[in-house]
């Protein structure tokens, strides 16, 4: 790969990811509205598209307030962690043949490492706010994300066994003769559920459960610092969607009448829509239900999936 191509890929990925995160503001509100039989954003610009611009400008001009009782350095540092870790995860995703920032041979592990770094933004944000609601939200977030990370990793291992590699480009190449969704459908469901829990989206938005904890770990955040949490969440949705597509739905593979990048984007947006649909339709479970569901159902299920996959791979 020449240096020019390399920088072009980096710039392109950054541009597309950040703009997708911003565009998701509009997409989420529009889709939520349509599913609730309303029209949604309709004032600024065509189809209310400029709501993205209006929202961003509003966030920038809000008072950027740091509460006097907060731990200032950690308070400022926490929102940056989530954005940085999610953006770093995007380096390993192959968007098309030869369009990947870093072709790591430990790509899947790097993704897991970065998603475990993302926990810190919730934990530190909640702790530094020095507020009981924020602290409760942070503690829920920490336990939820640690437990769901365990079988997120385990569910991925089925794909790793089938393709024999941690490298995401090789995983995509291994799906030439059939996507992994068919042999690994149990792994796919576990990964999807764990992914929703990792991005703490509804129905698993227990760290910020607004009906009981004000706004959870970001109760004290305002202005662009709150905006960073928000962008981090939207980029997290995009990340999990594109990981699902890469691991189980053949990444950029598809019939030749469309270029590979388009296939990748189309498949990713299907899963982004699924995330939004889940938000529109699911009730929030109780905290202990969430933990029980994870450790008593999903964790044994992912172990069994791993065992059966390994046995079949050995026998065939």
């Amino acid at each position: 790969m020449s240096a020019g191509h390399y920088w072009l890929v980096i710039g392109g990925v950054l541009f597309v990811i950040l703009n997708t995160a911003a565009g998701l503001i509009w997409l989420e509100r529009r889709m939520l509205a349509l599913w609730q039989d309303r029209y949604g954003p309709n004032r600024a610009g065509p189809f209310g598209l400029f709501i993205v611009l209006a929202d961003t400008i509003k966030l920038f001009f809000k008072e950027d307030w740091i509460p006097p009782f907060a731990d200032k350095v950690v308070f400022v540092f926490a929102p940056a962690v989530v954005v940085a870790s999610v953006l770093l995860s995007f380096t390993i995703i192959p968007f098309a043949p030869n369009v990947v920032v870093a072709d790591f041979n430990v790509g899947v592990l790097f993704f897991l490492a970065m998603s475990s770094m993302g926990v810190y933004s919730i934990v530190l944000g909640g702790w530094a706010s020095n507020n009981k609601y924020a602290l409760l939200g942070a503690m829920r977030g920490a336990s939820q994300m640690i437990s769901y990370e365990v079988f997120m990793g385990l569910s991925l291992m089925g794909v790793v066994i089938m393709s024999g590699s941690f490298n995401l480009s090789e995983i995509v190449a291994a799906q030439k003769n059939g996507w992994f969704i068919l042999p690994q459908c149990v792994g796919f469901f576990i990964f999807l559920i764990a992914g929703i829990a990792e991005t703490h989206r509804l129905p698993f938005d227990i760290p910020e459960a607004e009906s009981e904890l004000v706004a959870g770990f970001h109760s004290e955040y305002s202005g662009m610092k709150f905006g960073m949490f928000f962008i981090g969440e939207y980029m997290g949705i995009t990340l999990i969607s594109s990981m699902v597509v890469t691991l189980y739905f053949g990444g950029w593979l598809g019939p030749a009448f469309l270029p590979p990048v388009i296939w990748f984007v189309l498949k990713t947006f299907v899963f982004i829509m699924l995330f939004i649909l889940l938000r529109a339709s699911m009730p929030r479970p109780r905290y202990d239900q969430l933990m029980e569901y994870g450790w008593k159902i999903l964790f044994p299920l992912s172990l069994v999936n791993l065992l059966i996959t390994a046995a079949i791979k050995l026998l065939i």
């Binding site: 430990v106 897991l112 475990s116 770094m117 810190y120 934990v123 909640g126 990370e149 990793g153």
Partner: protein
């Protein structure tokens, strides 16, 4: 590569020093995370990407989160920072510093004795790690599995449902 190593090593040494000298435990833990991350970068530089990822996933991502979780449960405020300041008088540093100086002296001596630079770094892919773990080192893997099993049994014992005991007024069923 040499430059990257020295930058990372400097960050590791500095952050580890900060871990020891911070009075606020949360700040100390944050520096410890930075130190673990820089060790992971050093692993990566010297051809062990698998070890680097595991270092981040296991140490920086899981164990440190658990420690921070418990520190949050304890709700240590500025009061504990003040106490820590009281306990950690300069005199406390004397003996540890002495030991560290002895170790440093030994290290410098040993490096001066044979100063051949590290050569022949070869990358260890994940497959090789797996092969050696389940080949020559299978006994260690099995032993650690047994240790973990003991931990799980212990946790189950501590966390099992206690038989419900009711106050004697509540024991009789309402008729």
């Amino acid at each position: 590569m040499g430059v990257f190593f020295y930058i990372t090593a400097a960050i590791a040494v500095f952050s580890t020093a900060m871990v020891v000298t911070r009075f606020n435990i949360m700040h100390a833990l944050l520096y410890l995370i930075v130190s673990l991350l820089s060790v992971a970068v050093i692993f990566y530089l010297y051809g062990a990407p698998y070890m680097a990822s595991l270092e981040i996933i296991v140490y920086a991502g899981a164990i440190m989160v658990l420690i921070i979780f418990f520190v949050m449960m304890l709700n240590l405020g500025p009061e504990s920072t003040r106490l820590e300041k009281q306990w950690l008088k300069p005199g406390m540093w004397m003996v540890p510093a002495l030991f560290c100086v002895i170790l440093l002296g030994e290290l410098v001596y040993l490096i001066a004795q044979n100063h051949t630079p590290v050569t022949g770094i070869k990358e260890v892919p994940p497959k090789a790690v797996g092969r050696s773990l389940f080949g020559p080192y299978i006994l260690a893997v099995e032993l650690s599995a047994m240790l973990l099993m003991a931990g799980i049994v212990g946790a189950y014992h501590l966390g099992r449902q206690q038989p419900k005991t009711l106050h004697r007024f509540l024991q009789s069923k309402p008729s």
